[in-house]
Symmetry: C3
Amino acid sequence: MALRAALRGLLSCSSHGRLCASSTSFSQRNNSSSANLKVDHDQTTGVAVMHMQSPPVNSLSLDFLTEICITLEKLEMDKGCRGLIITSSQPKVFSAGLDILEMYGKSPERCGEFWKAVQEMWLKLYGSNMVTIAAINGSSPAGGCLMSMTCDYRIMADNPRYSIGLNETMLGIVAPFWFKETMVNTVGHRNTEISLELGLLYKPAEALNIGLVDQLVPEDQVLSAATQTMTKWLAIPEHARQITKSMMRKSTIEKLRSNREADIQNFVNFITKESIQKSLRMYMEMLKQKKA
Amino acid sequence: MALRAALRGLLSCSSHGRLCASSTSFSQRNNSSSANLKVDHDQTTGVAVMHMQSPPVNSLSLDFLTEICITLEKLEMDKGCRGLIITSSQPKVFSAGLDILEMYGKSPERCGEFWKAVQEMWLKLYGSNMVTIAAINGSSPAGGCLMSMTCDYRIMADNPRYSIGLNETMLGIVAPFWFKETMVNTVGHRNTEISLELGLLYKPAEALNIGLVDQLVPEDQVLSAATQTMTKWLAIPEHARQITKSMMRKSTIEKLRSNREADIQNFVNFITKESIQKSLRMYMEMLKQKKA
Amino acid sequence: MALRAALRGLLSCSSHGRLCASSTSFSQRNNSSSANLKVDHDQTTGVAVMHMQSPPVNSLSLDFLTEICITLEKLEMDKGCRGLIITSSQPKVFSAGLDILEMYGKSPERCGEFWKAVQEMWLKLYGSNMVTIAAINGSSPAGGCLMSMTCDYRIMADNPRYSIGLNETMLGIVAPFWFKETMVNTVGHRNTEISLELGLLYKPAEALNIGLVDQLVPEDQVLSAATQTMTKWLAIPEHARQITKSMMRKSTIEKLRSNREADIQNFVNFITKESIQKSLRMYMEMLKQKKA
């Protein structure tokens, strides 16, 4: 049922790939746009809003991940940017997660390169010195959920058609240890265990209940609520907040940092297995049939 | 009060030691029975139901533990068995836990052999590749609670006369670190701390509230609810589920596996102490008086 | 807002520094009094009540910490003392936490001495063999919250004007790893993360909700509720309870014990920084203005 719900969510999105990216630029704003990201950086408030606009469902391909990482790097280095809100310009979806096409029928080298980019995004987001808020205005399975969990705070649209969760197991693949630890740090060990074993996707109300998101608001208020919350967070003494955040997360970050190469090998060995490739093929065929 | 409740539960059981083990056998079933275990293995569904029927209260003696371990080993090796439901054929009790008679007045060697069997059962259950569901149709103190916690999912009879918990402290003994870690993984650190320090037994509603069990159902529906849940779990891609389960539990399992001998020594030294033997004697006398 | 609430709480206290320490002495009581502590030790029940009476707000100065440590040491050694209740004789405040005056404009040596006393108090309380109950009859920010969290059980006055939490970040300083771990052990990782990053102070109802306190009672019943709870805890087999408590806490305790010197250096280097001293000065000026 979780699977069907996930498919429904994803497919309903891919039918219309239009962008809502009408960017309003004021003089004090420093807006950069790449193909799939629109960044509104308000220099007055020190807050950047990163709109993901990679049609149809913000799947995290190698290219898109690379764009995201470059943008994060720039914002992190920019002293004028103290807060980051991540949201989606695509209708009904925040991000559909890792792009399956990057894992199917690819060479081990390419798979490794892809995985390194996934690691890089996680390291940049989970370890960011900025205040990071996920404005989850649509479904957020797998890698989309991971991105959300790296943030300091999660606000989700209160629409029961959306869902969020690490549902990798339903695709026959396995969330790596650092996905797992990010989730344990968010919702505890038992919720993570049952969630990952069953590949659960949670409706917004359920997600709030287990602490997977922090707040639900009506769909049209997700971004404004994120902006309001950001103001509160930016009022906190910055240096102390940053050291505290680092203290809470450094052991998890350190574990991946000191095992990146092994983690890549692990992923490549697993994903290139005949049986896993077959699982992914079946999953994609199911997606196509749903679409037709 | 917890103690009195536990005694009441246990004693009310031991007064009638009859078995409800009327086994219905169909051609597609592979039913094995040993003295104290009845296993219904449905080859069609791949689900085995293990009925504990060691009168009066399914106390985990060395013999009974050995039977359980042999049965678990067989089922684990059997490719046709993918799911295991553990339940009780004894009225009003799931399992009363470790058999006190195995800890009282026994030689250190015998105590060590007993403890090794407890470890073995835990290792087999907590690390099982099968989907394991506890159908808790009666009280489940101490070792009974441990067995339940090793499972992937816990369904308990919604009868306020039943209780569940690691109440070792009330007997003057101490839950070892791997009991503790299993509980921390289930209900978190603080619930475990207060629970173990006070030797708490929880009513079903309280157990549900802290996450010690996952679901309450009317008493006569425990097994059918477990069967329904099992169907959902078996629909999950198996290999990914197994790897995920192992990822969640392996650090806890590894900690015992690499410390078995020391853990046995620890237990034997503790349990054979004069003061602890006296505690156990007093506890047993209290049980007898209650009975009379 | 949290900050303002904290200030309001603290300032309203400092305006009247009177003591409520009218000690009633019976023959079976062994009451010791130092300048800022009144200890009622009931030899019959084995319970000592430690009243903090350091005006105006029980700030933990080096002198006061030293008094507390000496008292704890004595009680711990006294076989006749099995339970300790910690409460406040000051109106509206349990303890305002670490004394800022000990961190402002002091030599590195003095800062180090101060921090060593903070460590010592935590080590003594978190590792105590006694049953420890915090009778939180007023606001309990920062170090006051830490003291509360070291106890086995926390009962708070159900008065929405009081609050509790580790709000160090709001002062521009950082809770060290052992404050953090004590909180994670109490309310879990995510609650701790958001709580420490924002320097949150919780109203009693919120504190109960996240598990930061265990029970709320009307303000005039805090001490009697603590006494009742103590009776239940003292009925638990003592040796087993102590070993269990130690098992739950020893890894956290060990981490500080084996890093005391580095932790002191860390604190001294941080607190003597120009920028941190400036933060503290601004905070104290804000306190003064509020007062005036």
